[in-house]
Symmetry: C2
């Protein structure tokens, strides 16, 4: 991490302590910030959202849960660090809907799992003008001069800007797979990733050129 | 983490020490395993792949780099934990191509960034029969009896199963956005996520039902 990053980080953690954020949450904010490389506002809101979901579902430490995050912005990292729903362990799915919300559920042998959806409630945001201005990307929000005020709003509001609803989420079973060879690149690809004879990296998802 | 998970973890780390895996790599394997909740074979191969990329590109500790991971299976977590290219900080993109490979590049003000692509080389895998059987999901691989042998192959092979190539990757600039309201759910969504008047979570990406 850069020295600037470290200074911002220390400054943020001092502010959280001064505002009486409980030690356990501050520890989780520090862990999330270290992973993300800085204490982004959305990441810190995410810590409160995870806390909310964990309390409602009564998730035990180390318990296996699954999440769908409705935005790729910051929020997935709070789920990954605290609940260990990660991109790589198949317990986190990220959809590019842009809503600052996620669902969390336990595993289930049924076709559907019961879970909870936690979201930033735009009605409740109105009580926190700086936070609302940042959240809506309003031109009146100046991150150079209003950063401290934003974090004060976030840390003072805590869970007060959040709402939740009970949801049913379809359970996806693991599919059996064999190895296929892409006809274009000749590389091995699990059959579950292939829709034709050519892998996605050689067709729709091609993203680099050889030097 | 469950007690079973902890036992597996200790067992894996003992094996790594006995096979003379350098302490720094063992530390990174432990960090990745804690995040992922267990030392998955693909995650450990990923530690070697990140080490390979870091050496070729001479990435300094804390330096900001970007990655595209060509599979969602395990590998993204090695990139996230070690290089801090995370889903939430916009330095990691995951494509569902199914190839066990990633690219890493530094930021660039140009239209393209130079980077490196690291991949598991199927020709080189042939020297490690248990690893090859696991990798190809061959019916002869029995994870109940061959787990130790698999990890011995992975930890003994290290970077010997990997290859790399120099690549050019297009640089995506941050887009300006304003807040839009989805006509279906009424929730706020950044304009960059909206393709029409309805957000993705209310249309193509709808994934839950209210209870």
């Amino acid at each position: 991490m850069s020295h600037t990053g470290e200074r911002n980080f220390d400054h943020f953690l001092s502010l959280a302590e001064r505002l009486d954020v409980p030690a356990r949450l501050r520890e989780e904010m520090a862990q999330c910030g270290a992973f993300h490389t800085y204490p982004a506002p959305g990441l810190i809101i995410g810590v409160y959202m995870v806390e909310y979901a964990r309390n409602v579902l009564q998730v035990q430490p180390g318990e296996k849960v699954y999440a769908v995050c409705e935005t790729p912005k910051c929020l997935p990292d709070s789920l990954q660090v605290i609940l260990h729903c990660t991109c790589g362990n198949n317990r986190l799915r990220i959809i590019r809907a842009g809503r600052f919300a996620f669902t969390v559920n336990r595993g289930s042998d049924e076709a559907f799992a019961q879970g909870i959806r936690v979201y930033v409630d735009q009605e409740k945001l109105k009580a926190w003008p700086t936070l609302l201005a940042w959240f809506t990307h309003d031109a009146c929000f100046d991150k150079k001069t209003m950063g401290d005020r934003l974090f004060e709003d976030i840390l003072t509001a805590g869970q007060q800007i959040l709402s939740c609803e009970r949801v049913r989420i379809p359970v996806h079973k693991k599919e059996w797979w064999s190895t296929k060879i892409c006809e274009s690149c000749g590389q091995m690809v699990p059959s579950t990733f292939m829709t034709g004879d050519v892998c996605a990296a050689c067709s729709a998802e091609k993203y680099y050129e050889l030097e």
